[in-house]
């Protein structure tokens, strides 16, 4: 019998969200991984016996987390509006960012990360610069001047910001936009930071992204990686089928390597198997196929200016 009937797949049997099962065949659930592992790799006549299920769950989840950080290439994309303090709150399951872009006038503009500090916590001080405390001995804090200047646009920055091209008029010729070149060159410009778009910096501890002053009320698209734990809902945790064998090998290796009295050659065998399967899965995930190569090869005769 099929895992899902066509009706269940396309229309979720007419109940709940119609798109519930779309694309699910690419993935194996955590429940399946744990069940299959307990069934196939744990037993009296297997390399692993007397393994607790919570051990398997832990290592399977850790394996999935590691895959989500780099190998899996499954970025999440969320669109947010920047608040009046020029910041957005990081998504609930955020682990690391891939790209932040400003969406404006129908164009997605990648933003540059500001390597300069653009936020600070401020301690309240008296006129003798002594730190002030509340009745419980806790330090009183307020909005820092650095933050205020960033929001107001008063702070100087090494990033180009609006720059010399800002506000230039363009011409629409047969549906294409054309802009005048600026005359002359900008000698000594730091090209690393020369970007007309606004900048951002992550305040990881506070869980926010701080933007430069001209970003209030703008729309930001954040692409980020999570750890695949779906905010703790085990029923939603899954892994791409291309990585399924790797997860089994990873769990097997981590359990064998942490067990007492397992011969080193067995651990080494498990380690090599794990590494080889990860390489295999990464190659498969990279989706190298003739049609893609053909597209790339078409660029070979392009004239370089």
């Amino acid at each position: 019998m099929a895992y899902l009937t066509g009706y269940q797949y396309y229309e979720n049997s007419g109940t709940g969200n119609e798109n519930e099962n779309w694309g699910t065949y690419q993935y194996t659930s955590l429940t399946d991984i744990v069940n299959n592992f307990m069934l196939m790799y744990v037993g009296n006549d297997k390399l692993i016996n007397n393994a607790e299920r919570y051990n398997i769950i832990f290592h399977a989840k850790r394996g999935i987390q590691e895959l989500n950080y780099d190998a899996m290439k499954e970025t999440k994309v969320i669109e947010l509006t920047v608040d009046d303090n020029c910041r957005i709150i990081l998504p609930q399951d955020f682990v690391n960012w891939v790209r932040l872009s400003l969406y404006k006038d129908g164009v997605l503009m990648p933003l540059t990360e500001n390597t300069q500090t653009n936020y600070a916590k401020s301690y309240l001080q008296d006129n003798e610069a002594k730190v002030l405390f509340d009745q419980f001995g806790n330090i009183l804090t307020g909005t820092s001047i650095l933050d205020g200047d960033r929001i107001d646009g008063a702070s100087k920055t090494m990033y180009m910001g609006s720059g010399s091209m800002s506000g230039n008029m363009g011409y629409n010729v047969d549906g294409s936009w054309v802009f005048d070149y600026s005359v002359g060159a900008r000698y000594g410009m730091n090209t690393e930071t020369a970007n007309v778009n606004p900048t951002f910096k992550l305040d990881k501890k506070s869980g926010v992204v701080n933007f430069s002053s001209n970003m209030a009320d703008e729309i930001v698209v954040i692409e980020y990686v999570s750890d695949g734990m779906e905010s703790g809902d085990d029923t939603l945790v899954s892994v791409n089928k291309l990585f399924e064998d790797y997860i089994y090998a990873y769990v097997k290796y981590t359990i064998l390597s942490s067990k007492f009295n397992v011969q080193e050659y067995i651990i080494n065998r498990a380690r090599k198997e794990k590494s080889a399967l990860l390489r295999n899965a990464k190659i498969r995930m990279s989706n190298i196929n003739p049609s893609r190569l053909l597209m790339n090869m078409r660029g070979q005769s392009k004239w370089l200016k």
Binding site: L30, T31, V34, N44, D45, E52, R53, Y54, I57, F58, K61, R62, M229, G232, D234, T235
Partner: protein, 306 residues
């Protein structure tokens, strides 16, 4: 089997009525001997698995592990547990709790309002998605009983076990059949840390339990509905009882007595149980010959079985 064992034992031990064993004594010895053999199954099972892993055991008719599994499985019982909140009572006959299953798909729970079938005027069974084939659990006389849904209307359900609904006010719960998850036993030393860890905290998908005395506690603690927990366990053998009519040396075997209980171990273990009972008799009548012969026979039998 019990009569055959008694007759053999008497034939060996009872010489000129010197070694006559009363039915009461015989029942006591038989109980001890049976328990002894029953416990040995588990140790032998473990030994044979080790041998299997060393590749010194065969397959097919030489598969001793399979034989032992069959012997142990004759004592296997599957039963829903009675609960007070999320503390579920394990049956007193339980020797080894092998599996704890959780019904995860709870469709509806409530209390019956009439003694006619499963009737609950506060419920809308159709809206709750209950269909024929679902499992109904109800608490009757402090035990949990299962039946299967046959027909469904808004307030009434008929079930396979009609006699269940003889009074109103019965607590019940309805589950989707065969939607179960296995719960894992956790030691008391681990449960606090397990609950505190984000990655391993028990969920409905991966529930766990701890055991204290005859109660098991389920985690997550929201597992507390009527009949939500089913256990599969290995029970201890029932106490054998050689029943009789008449008295003294004239006692005649009576298999039709209501308290009659045969031995439960496989018949292939009859020589072993006879040796064991004779050993007890040897001690009882202070007859070292009987004891030594029985002990030697028992050792021989055990060596043969591994």
């Amino acid at each position: 089997m019990i009569n055959s064992v008694r007759q053999t034992v008497l034939a060996i031990a009872n010489k000129e009525n010197y070694g006559y064993i009363t039915p009461t004594d015989f029942n006591l010895y038989a109980k001890q001997a049976q328990l002894d053999i029953f416990e040995d199954y588990f140790y032998r099972y473990n030994q044979w698995i080790n041998r299997q892993n060393q590749r010194v055991s065969g397959s097919g008719y030489a598969d001793i592990v399979k034989n032992l599994e069959e012997a142990i499985d004759t004592f296997s019982v599957e039963q829903p547990l009675f609960n007070t909140l999320n503390k579920y009572t394990v049956p007193s006959s339980c020797y080894l709790l092998n599996k704890v299953l959780i019904n995860t798909d709870l469709k509806h729970e409530g209390t019956t309002t009439s003694e006619n079938n499963l009737t609950d005027t506060a419920a809308d069974f159709i809206a709750s998605g209950i269909v024929a084939g679902d499992t109904v659990a109800a608490i009757v006389d402090e035990s949990t009983v299962y039946s299967i849904v046959l027909t469904v209307s808004q307030e009434t359900i008929t079930t396979t076990n009609e006699n269940l609904w003889i009074e109103s006010g019965l607590s019940y719960a309805i589950y989707k059949t065969n939607k179960t998850k296995e719960s894992e036993k956790i030691s008391h030393s681990k449960i606090t840390m397990l609950n505190a860890s984000n990655l391993t905290a028990p969920t409905f998908g991966f529930p766990v339990f701890t055991q204290s005395e005859d109660k098991i506690s389920l985690y997550p603690s929201s597992i507390d509905s009527v009949g939500q927990v089913v256990v599969q366990y290995i029970r201890t053998p029932k106490q054998p009882n050689w029943t009789f009519i008449g008295g003294g040396t004239q006692a005649l075997f009576d298999q039709s007595a209501s308290d009659y209980q045969d031995l439960e171990i496989p018949e292939t273990d009859e020589p072993l149980i006879i040796s064991k009972i004779l050993k007890y008799i040897g001690i009882s009548i202070r007859e070292s010959d009987v004891y030594q012969a029985a002990a030697a026979e028992e050792t021989k039998e055990q060596q043969k079985q591994g």
